[in-house]
């Protein structure tokens, strides 16, 4: 179906370009400077909470091909000053090379339900980014796993999981659900574990109860092939999040990149003086042995 639409759009584009290449001209670009990018998701359920600081890559500039396009590592700020506060206590968080970010242990700076946290990041170049978030008061509801269908297909095992949870009464609750298994990645000759998320055939990864108060939210995963080296564990995560967490992830979930025929889709941000997200959640994890 999309192919047909794309073909017809191609036809439209053909009409656009029939007028020949000199109908494409340079135009003056708007000023584009680097911005500070701050990301942090804090939770009382974490052993540590991490803030990550990067720099955006401005367009309309010239760079050397020999140096390569500025990559992930070159845009990371490792010498920023990251200050987290609950209004009474304040902590300046150091950069941790192991964790690729500014990380503080729960024991050193506890995140507490119902508390508002303020983040202030300063970085060389005169950058100042600020944000705040409030940890939801409630704990996430229980997830009810309604079925785990497992099939053996010529030695390959597939699973399909369905489940549901009931929204907490009253509006203002937002949820994030993830289901997955541990997979392996061969890295420098060693098998290394990583979490592999399983997509949903039905249901939403991120949902708000704005129009669905006190309802059951159900989900069903796609059939998922378990690799032979997998551990036989399924993980289900249900997070009760603040609204910024929901808006940001919903936008990321829908993000489709640039398309001249569609309206641009900026990603939600709650960082003043930069872009990114600073949000809070409470999370419940279920581990199921297969």
């Amino acid at each position: 179906m999309l192919k047909i639409i794309n073909t017809s759009l191609f036809f439209l584009a053909l009409l656009v370009f029939t007028s020949c290449e000199n109908m494409v001209t340079d135009v003056e670009a708007p000023p584009s400077d680097p911005k500070i990018v701050v990301t942090g998701f804090i939770s009382p359920d974490n052993e540590f909470n991490r803030i990550r600081v990067y720099m955006s890559r401005p367009l309309y500039s010239t760079y050397s091909t020999s140096a390569g396009y500025p990559g992930e590592s070159s845009t990371e700020y490792k010498d920023a000053t990251v200050v987290l506060s609950d209004g009474i206590n304040t902590v300046t968080i150091d950069y941790s090379g192991d964790l690729n970010g500014y990380s503080v242990d729960q024991a050193d700076f506890p995140i507490v339900k119902g508390t508002t946290y303020y983040l202030k990041v300063t970085a060389p170049g005169g950058f100042l980014a600020e944000s705040s978030c409030t940890v939801p008061v409630d704990s996430p509801p229980d997830i009810e796993v309604t079925s785990i269908d497992s099939t053996n297909d010529f030695g390959n095992k597939t699973i399909q999981i369905t489940g549901r949870y009931k929204d907490i009464e009253g509006t203002g609750h937002n949820y994030s659900v993830s289901v997955g298994t541990m997979s392996t990645w061969n890295w420098n000759g060693n098998d290394d574990a990583y979490f592999e998320k399983i997509g949903f055939q039905n249901g939403e990864y991120y949902i708000t109860d704005e129009f669905n108060d006190n309802q059951f939210f159900a989900f069903k995963t796609y059939e998922h092939y378990l690799q032979t080296v997998n551990s036989n564990k399924i993980y289900l995560f249900l997070a009760l999040t603040d609204i910024d967490f929901y808006n940001y992830h919903k936008g990321m979930d829908n993000y489709e990149g640039d398309n001249p025929f569609s309206e641009p889709t900026p990603i939600y941000s709650n960082i003043t003086g930069g872009v990114g997200i600073f949000a809070a959640y409470n999370q419940k994890i279920i581990e199921i042995e297969l």
Binding site: P30, F41, R50, L59, D192, F211, Y235
Partner: protein
């Protein structure tokens, strides 16, 4: 009773000078009701009679709407309605009555009024040889209670230069002040900051839902079958409702009642034919008009047998009418148009794949005009309108066939009743109601898979009911003060939710001196149906949806004020108008919203468009200036608009106000039609507009999503691969950049020759005559030079200078 009506007038005058309060509306309603009861009775209480009848064009006996009927001695008058009927009530006496209309010789009749009198009048069209101005040409704009309303003579539209020679009503409307076009070449219309979905487009009483051909480059109205085109931008009369920004009303011709005649034309991309004539002379007539493009036929020789693609559109208008007697007349009219794009691929003898999309509009209207006595005119309409988009895919491999068809659309069934009552020269009432059953079909899937025995036919339909009752009072308080005060009660029932709203409408005209008046108007509008656009450029995949419990109706309030001046000697009108419009609950799209519902159309999941929209508000204000000359050797207009349009959504642009995409600070149109000699016409248009507001990428950045394992204590190893790390585009604030300004000159020559049995016209035109590279869209490009890469912003233009030739005959 006389005292009662005087009291009502006093109440009303005091109302005008008072600051509007919450009780203003109640007072207005009371006043309206008193007038409704009192004035007609007071009118009956004196010895008065009516002059009424129909005004027709002499040659074809086509009924003429908008003809001015004026009594110079009394300085009162009226105009014919959409069906060419007029009625005026006067005391016994002898009157001189002048009938005048743009493009026609005026007629003066002396009438002795001793009883109700039926006076049908025929006006003779001014021929090309007689383009001299004489006397009155139509209703003086300074005397009318219409405001923010422009009627464009169809003949003027047909003389304008056009893209590829295709005459287009909507592109002519885009040349008027207060009306912005969308992107280059697009026929979408943006009125006073409103979107194209906020225009009520009516063809013979039927709403048209997708008025574009060829992905928006042409509108479906070519002017051949049209009698009149009228645009209302504010001060909406109460008879109209259902959209926020404008009313574009088009009336189809009735067909020549005297003789068989026609018109045919051949252009670069399409041909057209109009045939009209009497079914029974002077009693009944018909008109049929058709147009079809032949791009598909022209490119076919260049394609292989194995792979073929094609595109065409056609449209067809038809109308018949029948005079049952002096008091009854019926009309049947319809429109059908379709665009189709398809691709066929053959793989050997036994395998074939075909896919395509088509979209089509169909409207049908049955109307019955009836006269109750000589003063009351009624019209009953039954209306059908449907818009459908279909995308299909068909594959055949040996004996197995696979078909997948996706459709969406909207279907309306309406009943409408309008009544006009001429109580006196000072009071004219219009009232009526309409009821529409909308059926929205956002998604219908048909799947046939012979190989896997899958047969699916899923449909999702939503029905709703929209209703409106209105009352319009045209009041003449004195020679210098007139008003049109009305109210509309609109309702909408859908999704177990009932919306109801009272919409006050008011226009006042205060004449300051001869031919100069000040006008002011106020209108509230509600829009119960919404258009979801995937692209914002008006593709046929855009989807109409109803208001629901979650998505409330859109609402607007608009005040407008201005001056109108007629220069009768030169037949020039000048209007200057300012407006301020507040819109509420207008729809915006959440970041990443998609309404195509086509990624996997066979998916059983419900269509959840409500999750993807967000409500906000809009503010538009500006000033419009128009000098319009409708007739004469040199005619045309100059329009200038200075305007601002801002939007605000809690969920967009971080809650901050931003410019609408089609916010345009300056917009200029110069339109000139010059009859060099009877056999040669020259026409030219020049337009200028501030560039569209756009959101440009400023850079990109890593947008990291939440990893549910982070900090959870579950060992995840040390893999550098991170599925939660994506680069996204940084756009900065919404619509904070501007495209380059748009300007363009078009011109055309028409060479006319009158032969014994027909008249032929050659038209040679140039679109974008000085080859301006106007922006269509911007994109980012990378330029490599030795060891460096430079990222640049590029502009794509689509139309260079485009010449066109068309040939037409009229017989």
């Amino acid at each position: 009773m006389q005292n009662q009506s005087e009291k009502a007038l006093l109440n009303f005058r005091s109302l005008l000078i008072k600051r509007p309060t919450l009780t203003t509306f109640t007072t207005l309603l009371t006043f309206t009701l008193i007038l409704f009861i009192a004035l007609p009775i007071s009118a009956f209480s004196q010895k008065k009679y009516s002059i009424s009848g129909y005004v027709r064009e002499k040659e074809s006996r086509e009924l003429l709407p908008g003809v001015n009927i004026y009594l110079p001695n009394l300085k009162v008058g009226t105009i014919t309605n959409n069906y060419g009927f007029y009625s005026i009530v006067l005391p016994e006496g002898v009157y001189e009555v002048v009938y005048s209309f743009v493009g026609y010789d005026h007629v003066v009749q002396s009438i002795e009024l001793k009883a109700n009198k039926l006076v049908d009048v025929e006006l003779t069209g001014i021929t090309l040889q007689e383009v001299v101005i004489s006397g009155e040409k139509g209703q003086r704009i300074s005397e009318s209670t219409d405001m923010s309303m422009i009627s464009l003579p169809v003949q003027q539209i047909k003389q304008l230069p056009s893209l590829l020679g295709e005459k287009d009503v909507f592109k002519a409307l885009q040349l008027l002040p207060g009306v912005q076009k969308g992107s280059e070449g697009n026929s979408g219309i943006y009125v006073r900051g409103g979107g194209p979905d906020q225009n009520l487009i009516i063809l013979d009483d039927a709403p048209v839902y997708n008025a574009s051909h060829l992905f928006g480059f042409f509108s479906i109205f070519n002017g051949d079958a049209l009698k009149s085109v009228e645009l209302i931008k504010g001060g909406f009369p109460a008879r109209y409702g259902g959209r926020l920004s404008s009313v574009i009303e088009m009336t189809m011709k009735d067909g020549n009642k005297q003789k068989f005649s026609g018109e045919a034309g051949i252009g670069l991309i399409s041909s057209r034919l109009v045939l009209e004539g009497p079914i029974k002379k002077n009693v009944s007539s018909f008109i049929v008009s058709g147009r079809r493009t032949y791009i598909d036929a022209l490119i076919r020789p260049f394609m292989t047998r194995e792979e073929r693609a094609g595109y065409y559109f056609y449209d067809l208008n038809a109308k018949v009418n029948y005079d049952i007697g002096p008091k009854d007349r019926v009309y049947l009219s319809g429109y059908f148009g379709r665009d189709k794009f398809n691709v066929v691929t053959k793989y050997g003898d036994n395998e074939r794949e075909e896919g395509g999309l088509y979209w089509q509009n169909a409207t049908a209207t049955a109307r019955w005009n009836h006269l109750f006595g000589s003063r009351v005119f009624s019209n009953t309409s039954l209306i059908y309108s449907q818009y459908t988009l279909s995308i299909y895919n068909y594959t055949k491999e040996n004996q197995n066939a696979y078909t997948l068809k996706y459709s969406s659309g909207i279907r309306d069934l309406s009943a409408k009743y309008d009544l006009e009552y001429n109580a006196s020269p000072f009071y004219h009432l219009k009232t009526g109601f309409s009821l529409t059953n909308h059926m929205f079909a956002p998604r219908a899937i048909v799947e046939r898979d012979d190989a896997n025995q899958v047969y699916k036919n899923d449909k999702t339909n939503y029905e709703s009911l929209e209703g409106g009752v209105y009352l319009e009072n045209n009041l003449t308080f004195s020679e210098n003060l007139k008003a049109n005060a009305g109210v509309r009660l609109s309702t909408f029932v859908a999704d177990n939710k009932n919306y109801m709203a009272l919409e006050p409408r008011f226009v006042m005209n205060l004449r300051l001196m001869n031919n100069l008046s000040v006008k002011a108007g106020y209108a509230e509008m509600n829009q119960y149906i919404h258009l979801l656009s995937n692209t914002g450029i008006g593709l046929p995949t855009d989807l109409w949806v109803p208001s629901t419990t979650r998505v409330e109706p859109q609402h607007s309030k608009q005040i407008s004020a201005g001056i109108a001046k007629d220069f009768t000697d030169s037949d020039v009108t000048v209007t200057v108008e300012g407006y301020y419009k507040l819109s509420d609950k207008i729809l915006g799209y959440k970041p990443g919203a998609s309404f195509l519902a086509l990624d996997d159309p066979t998916e059983a999941e419900a269509f959840t468009w409500e999750d993807n929209v967000t409500a906000g508000s809009g503010t538009s204000y500006g000033a419009e200036f128009l000098i319009h000359k409708k007739t004469g050797k040199l005619n045309g207009w100059v329009g200038y608009t200075l305007s601002w349009t801002k939007l605000k959504f809690d969920e967009l642009n971080f809650g901050k106000e931003f410019w609408a995409r089609y916010d345009r600070r300056h917009d200029i149109s110069v339109v000139a039609i010059y009859n060099i000699k009877p056999s040669i016409n020259f026409s030219a248009t020049w337009v200028y507009g501030t560039g569209n507001a756009i959101t440009l990428p400023l850079g990109d950045y890593p947008a990291i999503t939440h990893n549910p394992l982070e900090g959870s204590g579950i060992p995840t190893g040390s893999s550098p691969w991170n599925p939660y790390f994506n680069y996204v585009t940084d756009y900065g604030e919404m619509n904070s950049s501007r495209m380059k300004p748009y300007h363009r000159l078009d011109f055309a020559f028409q060479f006319i020759k009158i032969r014994e049995r027909y008249q032929r016209t050659w038209e040679v035109g140039f679109y974008n005559a000085y080859n301006r590279k106007n922006p269509f869209f911007y994109f980012i490009d990378e330029e490599y030079d030795n060891n460096t890469v430079t990222t640049k912003l590029k502009q794509v233009s689509i139309f260079p200078v485009i010449p066109s030739v068309t040939y037409s005959i009229k017989f």
